[in-house]
């Protein structure tokens, strides 16, 4: 099919605000028999219509095309087999189930590809291979990206490879370089464009302006944080029933914008900290809107039940990680009763200039942890294997992490991975005064 203005307009009707990209790609795809660009690199943010546009074009023009996703095909072999078998399927138009082609290296891939494409019924049409999420190609075999970007040269067939990615091509260059593909940019949608696209899925039972106004309200809350069209649409669909509520109950009519806004605003604000972060699932959010209470988000389950000594061990680890070692005498020596000598004070000041709340936890040796542990536990604790095994189970629970090598039995080093909130909660359970022991809070 020749690319005429009618087809062009038809595509534009389906894909909004992408005139430049559509015309560029259509020009590059060219006529069927003529050869096309070796490789095209398409990039842009998520949900800017990269895949959708390509799909529409391929469907409209009925071009032979293959789609592979690098997330599914995570190594060379899967990728080769996926591509080859799709070519086979294209050729036979799904008439009979063909034999599965096996291929595990580039050499065989090129050979089989050549053989498949030189069959008569395929002719000299350009075959389009779309590789989605192609940033993953970099983590696979090193030769994949350079080889795919010059596939038409290696096979001698008429192939055009399309790479789709979120990140810029600069990050793909490695080694002695690759054959540079032609780049097509998909810029972000502006606020107006987002609004227009979102209004496309307006429900029929309400007037169009009503949904338009709703989307504007939604954007005013979320636009500063999120420009992902897919997420915005999801949020719009979730919160719409709540927005309509005053109308169905008869409290307000379509003209009463102020009332509608006052009704929905708190819900949208709440949605920001719950649905937007995927803390509660969308079905849970719907239940919450209907008024069922008692649903807690994922992050509210942060309190944990630990054995008594494990709690103290965790607190000791937190203190060891966040207090400089030089201040241990000030906090934990019982004889000096929290009085430091002048020298110790100066040393402590110079030792810890930047707050550990900013710099993150430091590592500490096991001996220091045990010393602090014995000093904060009031009762007499026998040094048993149980304590040490609790320590190692804290490591497996990812409350602590072992920094030194695993086989080092002599004075292993640890780091505390727990947040301040959790430690505060645990300290509250034990009625332990954490603030008194934390260097950051004393020296402020």
């Amino acid at each position: 099919m020749e690319v005429t203005d009618a087809v062009f307009n038809e595509i534009l009707d389906k894909v909004l605000f992408r005139e430049k990209q559509v015309s560029t790609l259509l020009n590059l795809f060219n006529k069927r028999k003529a050869c096309s660009c070796a490789s095209i690199f398409i990039y842009g943010h998520t949900a800017t219509g990269k895949n959708y546009l390509l799909e529409t074009i391929f469907e409209k023009l009925q071009l032979p095309n293959i789609f592979v996703n690098c997330v599914e095909c995570f190594n060379g072999r899967l990728m080769f087999e996926d591509i080859l078998n799709s070519v086979l399927k294209l050729q036979q138009n799904g008439e009979k189930d063909a034999e599965f082609i096996r291929c595990d290296n580039m050499n065989d891939f090129i050979k089989i590809m050549k053989k498949l494409l030189t069959v008569e019924n395929f002719g000299d049409e350009t075959l389009f291979i779309t590789i989605d999420k192609c940033e993953r190609l970099r983590e696979m075999e090193l030769n994949l990206l350079p080889a795919f970007s010059r596939l038409n040269e290696l096979t001698g067939c008429n192939i055009c490879v399309l790479f789709i990615s979120d990140i810029v091509f600069e990050k793909f260059r490695q080694g002695t370089g690759v054959r540079e593909p032609f780049q097509v940019t998909f810029p972000d949608y502006s606020r107006k464009e987002l609004l227009e696209i979102m209004c496309l899925d307006a429900p029929e039972e309400h007037p169009a302006e009503f949904y338009d106004g709703y989307c504007q309200l939604l954007l005013s809350v979320f636009y500063n944080v999120c420009r992902d069209l897919r997420e915005l649409r999801h949020l719009a669909q979730l919160n719409f029933p709540k927005y309509c509520e005053p109308i169905t109950t008869g409290e307000a009519d379509y003209a009463n914008v102020k009332k509608l806004w006052r009704n929905i605003e708190p819900y949208l604000k709440k949605a920001m900290s719950t649905v937007f972060l995927h803390e509660v699932s969308s079905s849970q959010w719907e239940q919450m809107q209907e008024g069922t209470h008692g649903i807690k988000g994922l992050s509210s389950y942060s309190t944990v039940e630990l054995p008594f000594y494990s709690k103290y061990l965790l607190i000791a680890a937190y203190l060891a990680s966040h207090n400089p070692a030089k201040t241990d005498r000030q906090f934990f020596c019982k004889t000096t009763a929290k009085k430091m000598t002048k020298r110790a004070k100066v040393a402590a000041k110079t030792g810890a200039k930047t707050s550990s709340q900013l710099k993150g936890p430091h590592m500490f040796v096991l001996d220091r942890l045990m010393a602090i542990f014995y000093s904060i536990v009031d009762e007499k604790v026998p040094a048993s294997a149980v304590i040490l095994s609790q320590l190692s189970s804290l490591v497996t629970l990812r409350f602590l992490s072992q920094v030194s090598a695993n086989d080092q039995l002599d004075s292993p080093k640890y780091k505390c991975l727990v947040s301040l909130e959790l430690i505060k909660a645990i300290a509250r359970q034990l009625e332990f005064d954490l603030g008194q022991y934390l260097y950051d809070f004393i020296n402020q």
């Binding site: 003529a34 096309s36 090129i110 944080v225 900290s273 900013l358 710099k359």
Partner: protein, 423 residues
């Protein structure tokens, strides 16, 4: 008239093939010496059975493969290469010696191969191949090995393939000519000692040592119609149009800019991609305006396109990072510090900006990580909490300020924060 349209489409097709599929141009400009040297090598091998080895070295897109295929094609047309066997290998495709060996057996159509299948293990194959080559003498058919992406062959285990190929070329066995194509200048340093001593150290350089005048000639040679074109009138009109284009001073400026930016012929092809693909029945000639547009698209800063699509919150974080990098000498920072800076800004200056929770900010931050605008520095990532991993900023500070200036509806406080740099 219909005939004209048909022939003009024919012209378009040839040019498209030249730009997109690297079809041969009738006369290669600026590669005369290299081609002569190469031609001599090939002729000596095919006529006298002299074994030799050579490396073609030069940056990407400078016509190494083109020169080789040009030489082979012209000699073949003169029927001088009938007895020469050709084996083409590519470092990207034959990723280890086993595959390379199979490919050689296959391309030489030796007895242990039937169709595409090759029998025997690696060792058997190697012995068989060497035996076949060793029993030959000067009168046997010479073999031409072309190793594309030669630099990848040096990473093969023990460089077995290279050693054997060079060894055969040094001793009185079957005549072979080994031609390696690479873009690494230091390639000889990476050969093992025993391999290096067997290599003839003949290098042919492809360094684009032409001036701007030649560059225009190259452009002309790509778009001009061959003299023996069927429809003479159309060809004349087309060539006249090309001449007019080459004389146009605006067009020369565009070409000169591209020449300064990327001298290789692949770079010229990149510039021509869009204008050439626009050619059609209704749009028959190349126009300066298209080249101007193509040039603008080529020199676009892709990172600022990505930055432009960020949300205000993400931009805030980037500005906070820029502030941290510029303020502290060591430049090390983590999410917690960025968040602190962000909070300070929102509390004191950014009145019109909403203050967001840490979790929301963290989500924005992870988006930046996914876009690779920020990167975790080293291997400590696994045993440090997410907020405290040391980071490095992969965007230049000036790019951030530029984007803030061109950002639609950017809050004024944000612009001030971004542009008021600490000196």
């Amino acid at each position: 008239m219909a005939k004209d349209l048909k022939s003009i489409e024919e012209i378009h097709d040839t040019i498209k093939r030249r730009v997109f599929a690297d079809d041969m141009v009738p006369h290669l400009i600026g590669l005369d010496n290299q081609i002569k040297e190469l031609q001599e090598l090939v002729l000596k091998c095919s006529d006298y059975g002299e074994s030799n080895s050579a490396l073609l070295v030069g940056p990407r897109g400078n016509g190494k493969s083109t020169a080789v295929s040009y030489v082979l094609k012209t000699l073949q047309e003169k029927r001088k290469l009938e007895n020469l066997l050709q084996v083409k290998l590519n470092g990207l495709v034959q990723t280890d010696d086993k595959l390379a060996l199979k490919e050689i057996t296959c391309q030489l159509q030796l007895e242990n191969s039937v169709g595409d299948k090759i029998f025997g293990s690696f060792a058997e194959n190697l012995i068989f191949l060497l035996e076949a080559l060793r029993t030959g003498n000067k009168d046997c058919r010479p073999i031409l090995f072309i190793l594309d992406e030669f630099d990848l062959f040096i990473f093969h285990k023990n460089q077995t393939l290279l050693y054997n190929l060079f060894d055969i070329s040094q001793s009185a066995q079957n005549p072979v000519l080994v031609i390696g194509l690479t873009c690494r200048l230091d390639i000889v340093e990476h050969l093992e000692k025993r391999v290096k001593s067997r290599f003839s150290h003949r290098q042919i350089h492809f360094f684009n040592d032409f001036v701007f005048g030649d560059y225009i000639d190259i452009f002309r040679s790509i778009v001009a119609v061959p003299p023996k074109f069927s429809n003479k009138t159309t060809a004349r009109i087309w060539n006249k149009n090309v001449e007019a284009l080459c004389e146009d001073s605006n067009f020369r400026d565009i070409l000169y800019e591209n020449y300064c930016y990327n001298k290789s012929i692949r770079g010229l092809h990149a510039l021509m991609t869009m204008p050439v693909s626009l050619l059609s029945r209704n749009y028959p000639f190349l126009v300066t305006g298209d080249f101007a547009e193509a040039k603008n698209d080529l020199i676009i800063d892709h990172k600022s396109v990505v930055l432009h699509g960020l949300s205000v919150l993400e931009l805030c974080l980037l500005i906070a990072m820029k502030y941290l990098v510029e303020t502290f000498d060591d430049g090390a920072f983590n999410f917690q510090m960025v968040f602190n800076e962000y909070q300070k800004f929102v509390r004191t200056r950014g009145h019109s900006l909403q203050s967001f929770d840490k979790t929301v900010v963290l989500k924005a931050f992870e988006h930046l990580l996914a876009l690779e605008l920020v990167k975790s520095v080293d291997g400590v990532a696994a045993n440090t909490p997410k907020e405290y991993r040391p980071l490095s900023l992969l965007v230049e500070p000036y790019q951030i300020t530029d984007v803030v200036r061109s950002y639609p509806e950017c809050p004024t406080e944000l612009t001030q924060w971004a542009t008021s740099a600490v000196r």
